[in-house]
Amino acid sequence: MNGGGRRKGFPGFLDGNLGSGHLFLLGVLLMPSFLFHQSLGLRLAQTGLFAVLCLLSGRRIRPLPTILTVAAIIVCNLLVPTGRILFSIGPLSVTEEALLSGVRKAATFEGLILLSRFYVRPDLRIPGSFGGLLSRSLFYFERIMSRGRRWNRKRLLVDLDAMLLELQAEGEVAERAPRVARTSLRGVLFGCALLGVNWAAFLAVLAAGKG
């Protein structure tokens, strides 16, 4: 298990108080309040909140890969200049809209990574045979997202191949993962509070016309 995995001996508040199905439902219900608004301030606040939730579920967050990813997304977006020129760095003109778009995309990307890391657990079982397959796919997706692997452009094929081999091996271990916890009253109250705060902020932003 790499650094993105759960801490051994510290199952975390969420793992201890919310069953995997309810945790998944919580993540799905949080998603619209995160995605369907344009307020950069709220998006950044929610990303911070999801980072806290990751820590509560016993996940480590590695700052360096996160910072590098955020920087890469912002720089990548600055390459397509839109809006007022704020300043120039050599030949690169930093424009207002491109910068805001880059920061928003970086916050969304990191927020979704953090969200997917806490709401999908190896013991998740969505009902039905397709649900089971989807659960499995989401488990693998969560594992890919938590790897923080550095991709080497010259060795892209080799890196991708190694990742598939490692994931397949991890999947075989996870196949035997026991169910971690049942949902407790504390977990229900926590989930409702979390949804309430996020949806209230989301609706407030919409009402203020920033949605």
Binding site: V28, L35, A98, I113, R136, L138, Y140, M145, D161
Partner: protein
Amino acid sequence: MKSTTPLSRRLDRVALLGACCLFLSSIEYILPKPIPFLRIGIANLPILIALDLLSPPLVLLVVALKVAGQALLSGTLFSYVFLFSLVGSAASGLSMILLRTLFAKRMSLVGIGVLGAFASNSVQLILARFLIFGEGAWLIAPPFLALGTVSAAVLGFFAERFSETSRWVRAAREEG
């Protein structure tokens, strides 16, 4: 030849390729687009790889996982985005399976990828014509189809190289 590998093992491969689709669509999201609706389609790469590894129904399952997973992860299940994704992915998935079945190895993954992208983009344009843009949809057709063709050719080339060199693909082929 009928596969002797247990179904659970083959379904596990389906889930893994589906997860790769979701990962690549996350990467696609962060790439800047000169026009908002232009997409490179890199999430189709695992489907191209799946064509030589899985039976047609299982390839369609990878497509279904891609569509359902994207909708869940992006919260677009009840929107036009989901409809476009569903129709586009189904068109490209079905056409690529059909081409692989008809031409087997006589057509490379580059050709299959390009025609699959063309099928996907064409049905999405038709949908856009009737649901959103009206006649204006035909104005965006040339760059939409051109970018789709170029990116699909690159993806097809990448998939071809990967299928030739990958230890994971080789192991999956040997298992059947």
